[in-house]
């Protein structure tokens, strides 16, 4: 277990270092380099040269990377010249909101998808399984932005059930108007349920063919008992890793959702930065979001190892 943990943490550190290299590489892609990106296209060559000197951009690439990296480690992610605020303080405001949106949506999706997937597995190839499968295929294949706008059209505009705009401001605004959170959360939840329930269904189908299920049935356990006490535990194990793997997709979903519902999280920050070409913010967000994903999937794998002894005692990856 300890060996597994050490190796897994080591891998994550290597991945994080590579992530910083990718982000640094992205910065080099900027047209005209960071100086032009920040000073604008009309900056004079003298101004660009002065900026480069001040910010150490005339040094060699490895040197620049090292300077940048030490800054990042000390919590300096750059400064947004568009919003006149440091990227760290912007992220400090926005990150908790995105974490909240993604967390609540994922939690609800799990609560719905796990029983749904189990039920489908039990009823496989019956009419209701086909119906749910079809529905999840369609949901999964609908562009998230269209789904969000359909929800707004039918639940906010034509029938005034929920507000079309997410709560503005801090968490107090969310507490004051929880109804306004419904549509943003529902958008992400619906897409996620579609993906998760297919997964749980497959995972449960695998389990239903196992010997222990036949054993339990032959002892006279009811269908429901077999599902809940035997299959459920084994079928949701892989879901833990799925969460880690799926995190970037959920974050991509928050980008679209936050833009549509004007929810002031990291996704909206990123979108606004992309439209105003605010490169320090873009790079800072990519770095932080990627770090969150790496840490998330590390935690998921550790959780998996804690729950599933096969990972601990056998060759990792052999358990499935």
């Amino acid at each position: 277990m300890i060996g597994y943990l050490v190796r897994r943490v080591g891998q994550s550190i290597v991945v994080l270092v590579l992530v910083t290299m990718i982000v640094f590489g992205l910065e080099q892609l900027l047209p005209g380099g960071p100086a032009r990106a920040i000073l604008g296209t009309h900056a004079t060559p003298t101004a660009v040269a002065a900026f480069d000197r001040q910010n150490g951009l005339d040094a060699s690439l490895p040197q620049q990377y090292w300077t940048w990296l030490t800054g990042v480690v000390r919590g300096n992610l750059g400064f947004s010249y568009v919003l006149n605020q440091s990227v760290v303080s912007l992220l400090g405001e926005r990150l908790p909101k995105t974490a909240f949106l993604a967390g609540v949506s994922t939690a609800i999706a799990l609560v719905v998808a796990v029983p749904l997937g189990l039920y489908q597995a039990e009823r496989r190839n019956h009419l209701d399984d086909y119906a749910v499968t079809t529905l999840s295929f369609v949901l999964y294949s609908t562009p998230a932005f269209w789904l969000a706008l359909l929800l707004i059209e039918f639940l906010a505009v034509r029938n005034h059930v929920f507000p079309a705009e997410a709560p503005q401001g801090g968490f107090s605004a969310i507490v004051a108007d929880p109804k306004a959170m419904v549509l943003p959360v529902l958008t992400i939840t619906l897409v996620t349920i579609a993906a998760f329930s297919r997964y749980v269904r497959s995972s449960a189908l695998d389990q239903l063919t196992q010997d222990y299920v036949r054993m339990a049935r032959s002892k006279g356990a009811s269908k429901g008992r077999v599902l809940v006490t035997h299959v459920l535990r084994n079928a949701i194990l892989p879901v833990v890793t799925l969460l880690g793997v799926y995190l970037p997709y959920i974050l991509s979903g928050t980008l679209i959702t936050e833009e549509i519902f004007n929810y002031p999280g990291v996704g909206l920050l990123f979108f606004d930065a992309a439209t105003s070409q605010d490169y320090p913010v873009l790079l800072g967000v990519v770095l932080v979001v990627a770090t969150a994903t790496v840490v998330g999937s590390l935690l998921a794998d550790i959780a998996y190892a804690v729950i599933d002894p096969r990972v601990r005692y056998h060759r990792p990856g052999g358990a499935s």
Binding site: I2, L18, F145, T241, G244, A274, T293, D301, G317, G318
Partner: protein, 312 residues
């Protein structure tokens, strides 16, 4: 636990665990061709997958042969004929600058399908090469190559694409390249997992003993025997690429007009939701959903046919 062999580190994420587990029992007969025959038979038994395939064929005919039969002007705008409701002459009406919607659906579909297939092709070629080399070489090289995959995989696709779209001017080849280069990671992982099992097979060992060079082994034995995994993944990649390109269009960073694609048509049409111009929204939206569902059904069918784990 000290069981960490010099074996490449093998994280218990699904892609790898699944790919390793998906290998059927070894056999001595020309494995690849026999497996393909069995797979074809089982695929043809899957009615949903066949339905998906039929839909795809119809869509391709609609988009590529349709314009030869149904002639419309998709170049010049005609503002006098804007937002006409469906009726004689315009079965699906006209859009906000006077283009015939049915004709535009055909032309736009060409772009959407081309970008989807092109991006999937790029992703699969890069991913297969990367995964096969990593898995075959093994050791430190493999570990490093897979950590690079992990690093890219940790950046949410839309964030990376949105960034790249602000740097490069969007065009069809650029979208194919960029979407493809963000999507090669999953095929790389899958093929690497497959390679780890394949390289221990007798015929690969035999080839190696006979002095066959590594590149030849990778192409002749590893890649040909992973063809199932590759095909299944490519199908899903097309579906995902179509959705991603649509999302980019919505975020305002897709292919600029007058070139048409379904994503751009849908996001443009959504501006008119409350004017009652439903024919600007639903045809393009439904075209996307139907296409993506069809590719997913075919992918699912292929995956079952090749006896792979049903989890994606």
């Amino acid at each position: 636990m000290a069981s960490s062999l010099p074996e490449p580190t093998h994280e218990p994420t699904h892609e790898t665990a699944r790919a390793a587990a998906s290998e059927p029992v070894p056999s001595t007969v020309p494995e690849a061709s026999r497996r393909r025959a069995v797979a074809l038979e089982s695929f043809l038994d899957n009615r949903l997958a066949i339905a998906g395939l039929v839909v795809i064929v119809l869509l391709v005919l609609f988009c590529f042969v349709g314009p030869l039969v149904y002639h419309t002007n998709q170049v010049n705008t005609r503002l006098a004929m804007e937002t006409l409701p469906p009726g004689p002459g315009h079965p699906l009406g006209t859009d906000d600058v006077g283009y015939d919607v049915l004709g535009r659906l055909m032309v736009g579909g060409q772009t959407s399908l081309e970008v989807g297939v092109g991006a999937a092709l790029v992703a699969v070629v890069v991913g297969v090469a990367w995964g096969a080399v990593a898995g075959y070489v093994g050791g430190v090289v493999d570990a490093l190559m897979m950590r690079i995959v992990d690093a890219f995989l940790s950046i949410p696709v839309l964030f990376l694409l949105l960034f790249l779209a602000t740097v490069f001017r969007p065009s069809v080849p650029m979208l194919i390249g960029v979407v493809g280069l963000t999507a090669w990671l999953i095929p790389a992982r899958l093929v690497r997992g497959e390679t780890l099992t394949l390289r221990t097979r007798e015929y690969v060992q035999a080839a190696r003993t006979m002095g066959v060079k590594a590149p030849t082994i990778i192409v002749r034995h590893i890649v040909t025997n992973s063809v199932g995994t590759i095909l299944v993944n490519a199908t899903f990649q097309i579906a995902d690429a179509i959705l991603v390109v649509a999302a980019l269009s919505f975020l305002g960073l897709g292919i600029p007009p007058p070139a048409a694609n379904w994503g751009a048509m849908l996001s443009n049409g959504l501006n008119f939701t409350y004017s009652g111009y439903w024919w600007l929204v639903y045809p393009a939206g439904i075209a996307i959903v139907v296409t993506v569902v069809a590719f997913n059904l075919v992918g699912d069918g292929l995956r079952d046919a090749f006896g792979m784990d049903r989890r994606r």
